[in-house]
Structures are given as structure tokens and as C-alpha cells.
């Protein structure tokens, strides 16, 4: 069946360093991927997305990489700040439909001062 999962449940990073959060997916037909940030007591917040016809997309301080050969996604956060502390989920959904989002289990990112 479909599944989106993560390699590591927790990640601790020094403030100012770059963070890399990894994710594996199993459905080779997946065509659209999203990274979400969820802070305590809040709903998931969209960070960045990527379609399957791309292998890299950049936003403000964030980059998503997609390797379709090994079915792997990563989220890179540059110059990590205390406000980046949260749980990060990779997710998959259909691109052109009002379809459900399939979430992975999440990685908690903590920042060391």
C-alpha cells in the first residue's frame, strides 16, 4: 500500500548550522510531495512542495530534493534558527485534485543554542 515514512524520529542541530531531514516513500506513482512544519498546539503548516518532474526546489532558507530512483525526499534548512524547532512531516498527495494528504510519521527538530 501507499506509505510515506521517515528515517529518523529526532534531530538535534546547533543553532546556525544546516539541518537535513530525510524521508522515504514507497509508492512509485506518487507525483507530488509536500513538507509540513507542525509546532506544538498548532496544525501542520505548508513549507515547500515539489512535483515528481523536478529533482530540486528552493524556497527561503529551505530546499527540497527528490530522488525518484531510490524514492527519497529530503528537506534542507539553512542557518537553523530557534524558531525552526518543530516536528516536520513529509507528505504526498495528488497534484491536480482535492485529494487526501498522506503524511509520514514526522521528525522532531530541536535546536541547541
Amino acid at each position: 500500500g501507499e506509505s510515506v515514512g521517515l528515517h529518523l524520529p529526532t534531530l538535534s542541530v546547533q543553532e546556525g548550522d544546516n539541518s537535513i531531514i530525510n524521508c522515504a516513500y514507497s509508492n512509485s506513482a506518487s507525483d507530488y510531495f509536500i513538507w509540513y512544519k507542525q509546532e506544538s498546539g498548532k496544525g501542520p503548516q505548508f513549507i515547500i512542495d515539489i512535483r515528481s518532474n523536478m529533482d530540486k526546489r528552493q524556497g527561503q532558507r529551505v530546499t527540497v530534493l527528490l530522488n525518484k530512483t531510490v524514492k527519497h525526499l529530503s528537506l534542507q534548512i539553512a542557518a537553523t534558527q530557534p524558531g525552526d524547532s518543530a516536528v516536520y512531516f513529509c507528505a504526498e498527495k495528488g497534484y491536480s485534485s482535492a485529494s487526501k494528504i498522506i503524511f509520514g510519521s514526522g521528525t522532531r527538530l530541536s535546536i541547541r543554542p
Binding site: G43, F46, S97, A98, K100, I101, I102, F103
Partner: protein
Amino acid sequence: GAGVSQSPRYKVAKRGQDVALRCDPISGHVSLFWYQQALGQGPEFLTYFQNEAQLDKSGLPSDRFFAERPEGSVSTLKIQRTQQEDSAVYLCASSLAAGGPRNEQFFGPGTRLTVL
């Protein structure tokens, strides 16, 4: 502008009680989704509405779960005869369109349900 709001934010129920959780989507949003998020897990899809029509309820875990959106705006998720395994955060999300590129879903803060 206002985002998705949910009420109550916290609900404690005794096992066997019925509960009703409310979602106010962003005004004008056609699509509305409910998700269940167990502690330490990612959200899992429950059901989807397009306007007042419930088009997908494949994620509802049992017939104790019921959702409605009678006028195509506010939605209510009802859980009858609550069980301890129903304890979770219930998230609502809305999106502007019924389809089309990206069609980003905007999430509310969730209702944390604890069943004792």
C-alpha cells in the same frame, strides 16, 4: 484574514459519551477535510467534503464516526460512544477549489480529545 478555526480546542470525555467537534473553514473554501492525529504520529485522513457533499469517508475508523457539512461551510465531526482509542487531535483543513494545481490545504489548530 481569518484561517481555519476549530472548537473546542480541548475536550475531555468519559468513555461512552458522544462528542461533537466543530470546524469553521476559510470563507469561500469549497473543499474540507478531517484528519486524526494520534500522539507522536502524522495526521491520518478521515473524510472529505466538496461543498455539502461527502465524497470520501474511507478513513472513518468505525460507524461511530460521523461527519456532516449541511450548508457547505461549517462542518461537524461527531463521535458516538467514545472509546479510549479515540483519544487524538482532530484536525480540519480547507482548500479553495475542488481540484486544480496544488490546491493547498490550510489546517486549523485541531481539537485535542481525551477519552477517560
